[in-house]
């Protein structure tokens, strides 16, 4: 009778419930690995199990690799946590890279020019404050323009990345002693201004990230500031209606977002790399956007999403070296897996109905 009923039609789900949502996501990951296996076999002729084991070795092969993974996870998580409040406010802060780099520049400057002038403990504290302020400034500028004149924050924060990168390269050239456009390890012999190691050289970032995650969770969920951020993000008109000063919230939140980026920059320079390069942030400001979004801005879920991303990138590096594959192959695998994970959200939010078979109706 209804021969023109659409073959499939899509309806919105009312509420799927948490366990089922997680089951869908888990299924998506399993499916992703199966598809990756098939793609691997077809494209390279390698045994997919070899590929997976290489990925696993790359991520967890040795205690050094595990620690490197944890450290990378922690750095990425820090940047993600910095972006989360801005994104919750629907302020598309794509300037994570620039804000972290601004922190790095300030930290490197302090370590180079204030060493000897201040006692070491004081120097580290000054360095930290300078880096945090630099990051906050980089967040403040686009926020101020947005609040005052309604400029587009996406473009603004994005362009601030380039400004930071150019500034970094300018300072590197003018600070390098031999004109080689490289700074080298700052205070290599004296280790002045180096953040003291705790446990091993990777541990520091992990501790910072865990503390930040807990604080950010509390800030977003239980404080008045966090509530204001949610209201402004959902509806600026509602915010104004109940008397929230929207401009103030935008600027305050971006100060916090930038400050945490600056803090991350401080630890990158003072605790990890002890130098300044233009590429030291490595696009984490953008990767962190994926981390924050996939986790729907929940700081604890972000640990999982950051882990996934870091695991994939470290694992894929290993594939290309161990199996001598083109480096793009790792990107293909990462792409497939992310595609499935993001795609699973569709099936969590929507339901697909297929046309009932006509035989059934006739019967």
């Amino acid at each position: 009778m209804n021969n023109k009923t659409p073959l499939i039609h899509i309806t919105r789900r009312m509420d799927i419930g948490r366990p089922r949502a997680y089951a869908y996501r888990a299924a998506a990951i399993i499916l992703a690995f199966i598809v990756c296996g098939i793609v691997t076999m077809v494209l390279t002729g390698e045994n997919p199990l070899d590929v997976y084991s290489a990925m696993f070795t790359g991520a967890f092969g040795s205690s050094r690799k595990i620690w490197a993974l944890l450290q990378n996870l922690a750095i990425l998580l820090c940047v993600g946590l910095a972006l989360a409040p801005a994104f919750r406010m629907r302020f598309w802060n794509l300037g994570g890279d620039g804000q972290v780099l601004a922190g790095c520049i300030a930290a490197a400057a302090c370590m180079m020019f204030l060493s000897g002038a201040l006692p070491n403990v004081l120097l580290i504290i000054v360095t930290l404050i300078a880096a945090v302020c630099a990051g906050a400034l980089w967040g403040f500028i686009p926020a101020f323009f947005k609040a005052k004149w309604g400029t587009n924050e996406t473009l603004f924060t994005l362009m601030m990345n380039y400004v930071a990168a150019q500034l970094a390269s300018f300072f590197i050239t003018s600070w390098s002693k031999d004109g080689s456009a490289k700074i080298g390890i700052i205070n290599q012999n004296t280790q002045i201004g180096w953040f003291p190691e705790i446990g091993n050289k990777y541990m520091m970032f992990v501790i910072v990230a865990v503390i930040l995650a807990v604080l950010m969770f509390i800030y977003m969920k239980y404080t008045k500031h966090g509530y204001e951020i949610s209201v402004v993000g959902e509806s600026e008109r509602t915010a104004r209606y109940i008397g929230i000063k929207v401009r103030k919230v935008i600027i305050r939140t971006m100060l916090i977002s930038g400050a945490i980026c600056g803090l991350t920059g401080f630890f990158l320079v003072s605790a990890k790399d002890h130098t300044l390069t233009t590429t030291m942030v490595g696009g984490r400001g953008f990767t962190a956007v994926i981390v924050a979004w996939l986790a729907k801005f929940n700081p604890f879920t972000m640990i999982l999403t950051a882990f996934l991303i870091v695991f994939l990138s470290q694992g894929c590096n290993q594939i290309t070296t161990a199996l001598e594959l083109n480096s793009s192959f790792g990107d293909i695998i990462t792409g497939i897996i992310l595609f499935f994970i993001i795609g699973s959200e569709f099936f969590i939010n929507y339901r697909i109905h297929f046309r009932k078979s006509s035989k059934k109706e006739a019967a």
């Binding site: 009312m14 959902e234 104004r240």
Partner: protein, 516 residues
Amino acid sequence: METKVPALSMRHITKRFGSKVVANKDVSLDIYSGEILALLGENGSGKTTLMNMLSGIYYPDEGQIYLKGEPVDISSPREAFDLGIGMIHQHFKLVDVLTAAENIVLGIENEGRLNMKKAAARINDICSRYGFEIDPSKKIYDMSVSEKQTVEIVKVLYRGANLLILDEPTAVLTPQESEKLFAVMRNMKKDGKSIIIITHKMQEVLSVSDRVAILRAGEYICDRITAQADTQELTDLMVGHSVTLNISRPEPVRPKDRILVKDLTVRDIEGIVKLDHVSFNARSGEILGIAGIAGSGQKELLEAIAGLQPIEEGTIEYVEDDGSRESLIGKDPTEIADMGVALSFVPEDRLGMGLVGNMNLADNMMLRSYRQGHSIFTNKKAPAELAEHVVDELEVNTPGIGTEVRKLSGGNVQKILVGREISSAPTVLLTAYAVRGLDINSSYTIYDLINKQKEKGVAVIYVGEDLDVLIELCDRILVLCAGKVSGIIDGRNAVKKKIGAMMTQTEEAPKGGSDE
């Protein structure tokens, strides 16, 4: 009747959303040529969903639609047009920068070049046939709401529609404009067209329709010949039990001036004058109604008092119990609250302004109270209790206080908003279109709540669109026309016709319009 083949019939139509919500359940409905059918039902009873299946926006899960006895499938709005079914939605779908004629021919695929002259001639032909007044070369942005609606109707007729569906067409019209629309509808009926009208206003159902079909909770209940029906019976059928249909108007309790507005002038961002030297006073224990065509400055007036609207000229003063006056000019809502002025505001845009759709009931209750206390943390317990209280008190239909507000139906959303606003024991209550889109049962709940506030001595300002309600509910009615006060009249002696006339012209302003 039995021998006549219906112009259109729906048989056993079922439509589900998700696994739990059944919007329409086994609905069978006929409409004949030359008939005006009123579709009546509470909010969420599935009227619009049912009509959307005729206009090709939704596809039924079960059941069959027949056009003149032949089974048809309508899987897109275009197919609906091809079958001669046209729907006029509540929100107009017109291109502002184009003329009426351009909007009408938009999207029609014709052989050869588009001949605007011919099109305009055909439009004029349609207009003279049914009695529309429309200037084909006028741009949409220059048009009033009623003119835009006319364009929508002509657009549908231009495409050869024989069945017209009007979704709450009079919600945005003055009484005079509504009468004009009804006259046109009767002309179309004479011409053999079938018309389905969705409306909440009982007088309109009785005056314009031939037959009434009643839906309740997604199911078809029955139909009645309009000539043999009355308001009480139809309401009872719609609600499912007997309801009393009286708006009470208790005498004002010791009215004292509470809000004094003088020479208030407001311009919008584009510099257009929205309020022009408006002066009035609102008294405690009294309901001041504001009547006017949509967009006559009602929104700006309420927002100016609430501290949300920059003003150009004039004063707004709040009078304390001891008679001292404080200016509200230049203060934002927080500052007004800090002054100790308990001002509550139920804005027109419930989910975009009064509430946050994506937050749950408890978090929405917190909007007003979250600042209390010096702690940096929010107190979630009090809002949760308030939410429970409002749900109990106002019989809000919700799975729980953890449910997001956007998932509730219009009436329940409004109850949450009003419940929150009156919970703070206000001295001034501003409401904008408090019952827009609400069914009769929810509307009466809201009237009751407003009356209770009045009896508590609250100064209520009630912006409304249904003149019958304004006349029954309000102690005084201020009529706005294009930003000017065309008069303030006593609600007890108000005549609908006169208010309607005042809504469209300011000349006969007897008092209040202070153009000194």
